[in-house]
Symmetry: C2
Subunit: 467 residues, 2 copies
């Protein structure tokens, strides 16, 4: 039983008890895991009140020296090195497994960047300036759509890069496109039917399913999704990538765009979400105006991200809503907080307005064009050249390679996986098995080095000839 | 027709064409809106290939000098001031109104910070260091729960400040608590019934309504929500602030906490969301262990934010899930991306691990305690002192003042509003009219200066005696 001498104390009793127990814990007289006396017996033993012990214990708990187990009592924490808590082990490990990305030698499925492709020096400089010069602005809570400066900068960027004429107040900034999809489903309604392209971006289907929203798949032909296929699935909202479809690379021609708009206009409540995810890197193909630009009836929501043009780890995306929808958005949803930090919004705004973003994109575009050229040349000159066909529908950050093989795609993927190479087949992006579309593989080269292609081709060649 | 002299060129033909046309646009020889020759006729006219013209036009388009209309051709853009696009007006203004915060002279409802209360110098220093030393980590996509370093830092903070023993993998980081509520409803199900306290945080009800999720209100007594009131509304998930209720300031005593846990345990699928939004500033009252800490049956989701302790504009919140739920979370929802930028996650992690967060909190706590004391003294010494009663249930960042008046709360709010003072009444936080709870006003002093209290009291006095 703990007994202390209360005669020499120079502070309130509860504080004195707190100090005594704390000292005993720090000195090791009380060992980690040791049970402390109950409040009542501690109090009785020392001739003081239970409340006093309660206060002392509470203080010890709040500082981490003591923990409590429900219906059991008070115990001494493991305070080893607690003066510098960063060095103590946390002592809690429930063996919870976070699904981790596998590590590959070569990964054609990633969308990460190597650090040398991020404009660190300019970004650091601007972010320091922002923190020095915009202290007040940084502390002012932004409206739901994001800070004005960034929306203005994005409107200018859209004008000069995409020929889009947009009011900054039509732009909604959010922490990633996934988050923005959530806002869209809230804006248009959970009871609507959403449709994605087949083949298409499967993660979208997962998001819709997770939110218990009906999600269908619309068939594509060589020009993209058709009005008929959208009619066919009786959808309300069509999510499409008309400017550079993933994974096929198709650019939807103008006539098809008007067909899609005509579908949207045929009925009240129909909308198109135009995902323009890698627009900044599509300069070789013909630049076709966005669906948003040719939409005269407020049916198109334009969506883009800085994940491809800056880094996916920076978590800034935006959407442009038609005027009618943006009014509804502010009316119903302006109580939400913007999900992107002011610090990064102001930094990005300055980065765009001072012309650094344009320079960065130009540099990266050149870098990708060169890389792409080198990769394609390497394939053409390789041992694999007569066993494959390169399909370049457009520039952007990926193209397709069709392998002349009878092996099913899964076999090739698995064999490569064993050799620490990750590549995805076009067939993976179909929502049902489709044998006609086998043997196409997606060369997404944003995250690989041109030098890695040689060894990759040799490995593929080995896999194809082995069995 | 455009004709250029190709003899003196010092670059590839396409680049030369590009430069010539660009110069003509910049000089005004080619006017905005003017149609450019078709590729074929331009090429024939100058005796060069169509491809060359195509490349030149593409370059002009990508830089915004030229735009294209489908099936019509190429046109000169309006490039007025384009050398410095930031200075050109955007030319699009649809008169879309973004709901703006009103500006007040004194605002007791805000949760913003004055810039001098944000640790700018340390934050800037650490963020620069992070950008210099952690380039690779900054570019690696974080798992859905956030970067490991920050979750580890938060686990340590929770241990030392809240006596909570938490595995870092139980912590999910997100861009604001609103976003995390969305994850919770996806995790537990949209079909569940969610309940918030009455009085309580109305924004939560708006979020649930917006997502078409059933939201009910549970009555409180002087110890907080009761098990009976939760039974009464037949809810599945109870959202409560047991540690410092907003707006009443009630701290739920331990016995009531066990009652709530007992309610949760009585049926499968019941959960409690414990919102600990301003825990860092509640040191005067007795620190009662969190519901999460005394929950032995994995029924409590703990929720906290850096909005109060750092800034609401930084958009970092987190929740701690019980082991069973966090496993389900990773199983079903790990395809999501974390919504907080790596840059800020690493900066905050370092900020906590190096002890700056603790120092900052201590400094702010002292600042708030002093401010609170000064405000209360000012009230007590003021002309209003015998017309009001101060109700301090706990420390934290607000307390209540009961005015001795017969005026309805709305009248007082409106009269003050006219005088550019914003204050909220307790009755505003009830979901139905409750006359018994009239005349209590919330003095949330985080965003006001102690000196502003004098003029505020005089204004109130004037309002009370005027009519």
């Amino acid at each position: 039983m703990l007994t202390y001498n209360f005669e020499d104390r120079d502070c309130p009793i509860y504080e004195y008890v707190y100090k005594c127990v704390k000292n005993d814990i720090l000195s090791g007289r009380l060992k980690p895991g040791e049970k402390l006396p109950s409040k009542r017996s501690f109090a009785n033993n020392n001739g003081i009140s239970t409340i006093t012990i309660q206060n002392a214990y509470d203080q010890l708990i709040s500082e981490g020296y003591v923990y409590t187990l429900p219906k059991k009592g008070y115990y001494v924490s493991n305070i080893e090195g607690m003066a510098n808590p960063a060095q103590t082990p946390l002592d809690v490990d429930y063996d919870i497994e976070i699904p981790q990305k596998k590590q590959y030698k070569i990964d054609f499925s990633g969308n990460e960047f190597s650090a040398e492709n991020f404009p660190f020096s300019v970004w650091t400089k601007i972010s320091r300036e922002v923190m020095t010069e915009k202290k007040e602005e940084l502390m002012n809570v932004a409206p739901v759509c994001g800070v004005n400066e960034l929306r203005e900068a994005i409107a200018r960027h859209l004008r000069s890069f995409r020929g889009m004429m947009v009011d900054p107040n039509q732009i909604i900034i959010g922490a990633g496109t996934e988050y923005l999809y959530g806002l869209i489903t809230e804006l248009l309604g959970n009871d609507k039917i959403y449709t994605i392209e087949n083949p298409g971006y499967k993660k979208l289907a997962m998001i819709y399913r997770q939110r218990e929203i009906t999600c269908k798949y619309a068939a594509m032909d060589e020009q993209g999704v058709t009005g008929a296929s959208l009619e066919n699935v009786k959808t309300d909202v069509a999510h499409i990538c008309p400017n550079h479809h993933f994974p096929t690379g198709i650019t939807m021609p103008a006539s098809r765009r008007y067909e899609i708009l005509s579908w949207a206009n045929a009925r009240e409540g129909r909308y198109v979400i135009e995902d323009d995810y890698d627009s900044e890197f599509r300069t070789e193909g013909k630049p076709i105006p966005t669906l948003f630009s040719i939409d005269g009836c407020e049916k198109v929501i334009y969506m883009n991200t800085f994940s491809k043009s800056l880094s996916p780890t920076i978590r800034i995306s935006y959407m442009v809503l038609p005027v009618k929808l943006v009014r509804r958005f502010y009316q119903n949803m302006s109580f939400y907080s913007c999900t992107v930090s002011n610090f990064e919004q102001y930094t990005l705004a300055e980065f765009i307005m001072r012309g650094y973003f344009e320079k960065h994109i130009n540099r990266m575009r050149l870098y990708y064009i060169r890389k792409r050229k080198r990769i394609i040349e390497t394939i053409k000159q390789s041992i694999l050249s007569d066993k494959c066909e390169i399909i370049e529908n457009d520039s952007g950050l990926h193209f397709l390679v069709k392998l002349k093989t009878d092996f099913p795609d899964s076999k090739i993927e698995n064999e490569l996986e064993k050799r620490k190479i990750r590549i995805r087949a076009l067939s993976d992006y179909y929502f049902e098995k489709n044998e006609e579309r086998e043997h196409f593989f997606i060369i997404n080269y944003s995250n690989i080095e041109a030098e890695e292609i040689g060894p990759f081709l040799e490995t593929i060649e080995k896999v194809l000839s082995e069995n």
